[in-house]
Symmetry: D2
Subunit: 325 residues, 4 copies
């Protein structure tokens, strides 16, 4: 059976808030407390962190010690440009050269931290996009997006950079909004160490079949990280995996195996109203259960059915893993 190392975004274990309840649905939690909670979840071996917001009170060395203490490693270092007010109109694409340079510097810091901690870097450019027609000059947006990512990727060719695309939120339109745009950026940047972090719910929001996006990225050798969660398809609901779109999650796991994925799989959820440790535990349990379902699919039988391209034949090849008949 395929085994994957599972990590959790540290944010899954912290305080949640939204625009209607900005003071939060639970108490604020320190990085130490969130790490402690991560350590409590059976099956979690790593965490994804944010640079530099998870390091405001801790040095990299202190973080490493804390991780070690919890028997965790850092699987991915995400660059947090979206949590700073100054970048509200854009980070990598900001038309103010000083703000743009500061964003690149932040990402450069993340690369350095990632090298020290032995992990990849995640670039989810949450601040880069637009809200209204006519608001930005799209020609500049694309130019600056590509230039910025190339600059960051050139800092250290040994550190992998995974672009995490997302259609929208917090901007109404985000610049790198689909798997195809992410691949296009990889191609334009043209560097080996630039790939894509695929988030299940983001793929759904862009109306993709996540397993198809996975195969498209794998085909190009650009699948650098995968995130698990679930959603109702038109927003990044960040629910517990397997609770809404069971079949498409099983399919996602099936193709992870078939394409011989060997990196981390990560939880990226937002348990607004739930206990974070319980939510992560349920996520791990569901992923493991769905992995068993995916493993139970007879690949030869399915591939033979797929040659017919007939939906009934392919459904007959897979449905038994859930319906036991």
């Amino acid at each position: 059976m395929a085994t994957y190392r599972i990590s959790a975004g540290l944010w899954c274990l912290g305080q949640t808030a939204d625009r209607f309840c900005p003071t939060g649905y639970s108490d604020a939690a320190s990085v130490q407390e969130m790490l402690r909670r991560a350590g409590e979840v059976r099956g979690i071996e790593g965490v994804e962190l944010h640079w530099d917001t998870d390091f405001t009170e801790l040095s990299i060395a202190e973080m490493r010690d804390l991780l070690k203490e919890r028997k965790l490693v850092c699987s991915n270092m995400n660059v947090n440009t979206f949590g700073y007010r100054k970048w509200k109109h854009g980070a990598f694409t900001n038309r103010d050269p000083r703000l743009r340079r500061e964003a690149i510097e932040l990402a450069t810091g993340a690369v350095a931290a990632a090298r020290e901690l032995g992990c990849s870097v995640g670039l989810w450019l949450g601040a880069d996009g637009f809200d209204y027609p006519f608001q930005v000059d799209y020609r500049k947006q694309w130019e600056l997006t590509i230039e910025g990512i190339r600059t960051v990727a050139q800092v250290d060719p040994t550190v992998d950079i995974g672009i995490e695309y997302k259609l929208k939120e917090p901007r109404n339109h985000m610049q790198i909004g689909s798997v195809g745009k992410a691949l296009y950026v990889c191609h334009e940047v043209g560097l080996e160490n630039v790939g894509v972090a695929l988030d299940f719910g983001h793929a759904l929001m862009s109306r993709e079949d996540p397993a198809d996006s996975l195969c498209l990225l794998a085909r190009s050798g650009k699948l650098f990280n995968v995130h698990f969660n679930d959603a109702y398809r038109e927003w990044d609901d960040d629910l517990v995996p397997g609770t809404i779109n069971l079949w498409e999650t099983v399919e996602y796991l099936y193709y992870l195996k078939v394409t011989d994925y060997r990196r981390w799989i990560g939880l990226d959820m937002f348990p607004f109203r739930e206990d974070p440790v319980e939510a992560c535990q349920l996520a791990v349990d569901n992923i493991k259960a769905m992995l068993r379902l995916a493993e139970a699919i007879d690949q030869k039988v399915l591939e033979k059915a797929q040659k017919t391209m007939d939906a009934i034949a392919t459904q007959r090849a897979v449905r038994g893993v859930v319906f036991r008949e």
Copy 2:
């Protein structure tokens, strides 16, 4: 030309935040400061307030004085159950009788305040809904929703209660999620003073044509309040009116006139990254400009075209107001 008194939700003029930037895209602003800003917007004559969160440091009398000073009145008093952590799983529908009673009590306080200030009450039950299949017993949800609204409406039959429906956010599913459900609740409650507050973007999110929803409510005498904003149809983007869906907003204004609406029209926006006074001013300017477009439609000509039910004929009857030909 039809004239309407325009109010602004006080929240349009305050600090904005979201789950990725909970510390806000601008500085926190006191109620006094938000009222000062509202007073700066030319064309704004009223504000919608929230009970009790706008009254934590001000008595009702003090609020009235402040409003007077700014030449404003309170047009609607919204019940804020969604900003309190304790109601994260539901307010009117909470299965804990104590929490449910507290929610009803909060709304009862809003009715009293509304009576003192001479305005209606808004019930946007943002906390009542669910996020996952199986999470709640829908039978109880409907029972408690209706019972709660009836209880609040019976507090004072002279105070109008406007139910503001919304499909989702902050819950993935909200209980009163469409114009039809809101009307159903009005019918079940069966009290004269219970009607509906129609939000343009909420209607879009529920995939309604807002003008059709308006006519449906007007037909039943249940159109108690209208909100203006704009959106991309699948989320409550709360953008400035007239910037995305121009035609449907003009149509909305046309039917406000045709159905002889005589209450307030309110701004309900969330200018996350914009100056709030400038955003509200643009909103007022756009509404007034679109009102002129709506007025420029020749009702007789349009109604004659509508008898043919032909889209080309009806488009020919209205397009000139924008295209001037």
Copy 3:
């Protein structure tokens, strides 16, 4: 274990076509041939028919004989106003009184046929709606919709009329587009024999949770018929049940049981590219398998968890039926 009589819409077993391939993805099939196919599907005991398009070459008596021969009964008689070019701008709502009268007459014929065959009538008003802003006068639309349904329902109070709501297609906006609007119409019409036919995919398209819609209708005694299929939530994809949204279909079946539904459950699919008998057989097999999953949910345990309103607790209460742990 709850058992339901399952019927199939006869159209599930015929030729499929769309706007890009109007000559069809398979050969045309006569009513006799479609009935023969229905008889081949193990577990199908009834069919839903269309008045008058399924009766152009058969009398009601001949239909009854044919049904008997196949060991089938007619479970529901749907009024087909949407297949006639003359009603392209509206049937019940057409502003031309003659066309409107002809639509009512067609429905009246369906009531008579339903009485003879001992079944209910289905009113899916596919032609009534609009495509563009300003195209119709919504005030007239609602007036004529309600007037038309009332007229049809008064023909024979012993024949149940189930309004099947749908957001869109073939019109961009259909007049009765959500569960709430359907309930509103029931209320306005005010007759005992007017209720609602709930279609799983239509509920999804209106962004409802189908089980919630089911409970809302059951609460009012208005759940007259249920349709099964599956979809990706933004269109009426009419796929085989259980292939996309497994959990929500299990939930739908769970609440059918809990609300003690005792009428037919019907297949409403459009197997564009599949063998129709195989597609219906898969549908029946999936529904029976999901019924077993729904039965396996311990109602007491789930209801206890639902009292906490906590998503983790409720997920823990149901997930085992699929994950077997």
Copy 4:
């Protein structure tokens, strides 16, 4: 003022049908009749044709004569694989090598016809995609898609091939479903004569801002054709341009000018219930009117505002062209 040659898809002028009314909302029309209608629309100088379905009764030479008679030219030759039942499971991606070869041969015929008529080829691969999870092997889908397009493009390097991406319909998922995937395919194929045909409504359906997609394609020199229509964002409604999303269409025209587009602009609509000549005339009139609005935008003023990235500033820079203030 920028002037563009406008063409109409011949299908805009023919019979319309859908799955509920497969016999059509109007009478069948011959190619000759559709061309006659196209000639009646003031402002139309070209037509887009389909290979080989528009040539079943006409030779290429006869078509040229007919076009000349109507003072029209062929602006684009689309390959029709989606109207043939045999390719219901895929054309370029069919797992049956014979069917795949036949699809490539059809496209090769279109290239030859395009060369003779002096136009580009359109590849909207409507049959290539999938409807259910697990139905196809995505790895094969991408391999065959790219291989097929490359083969067709190599037939004649002087004939431009424009890939028209579309999210879905007639398949629930189409393989080339977004602007990014289309660009990715261009990159993988790696031939100068392979580019993209951008359809306004398809961009909306993929939740793109059409003007942003336009700029992305222009940046790569891959904008080979543009289609106009309008839609409600979640389906390919193919409505008359300018009737729903006015601002985004003006923006689309503004960026056509700014990026110095010099090819055809085409109508791609489906006037299901409207007179086709009137619908096309309204479309041309609206496009010309919106072109005037786009021309009225002061590029220097807008670009200065765009440097601030502020939505209020940019709205203030453009709103006057509609609101005249």
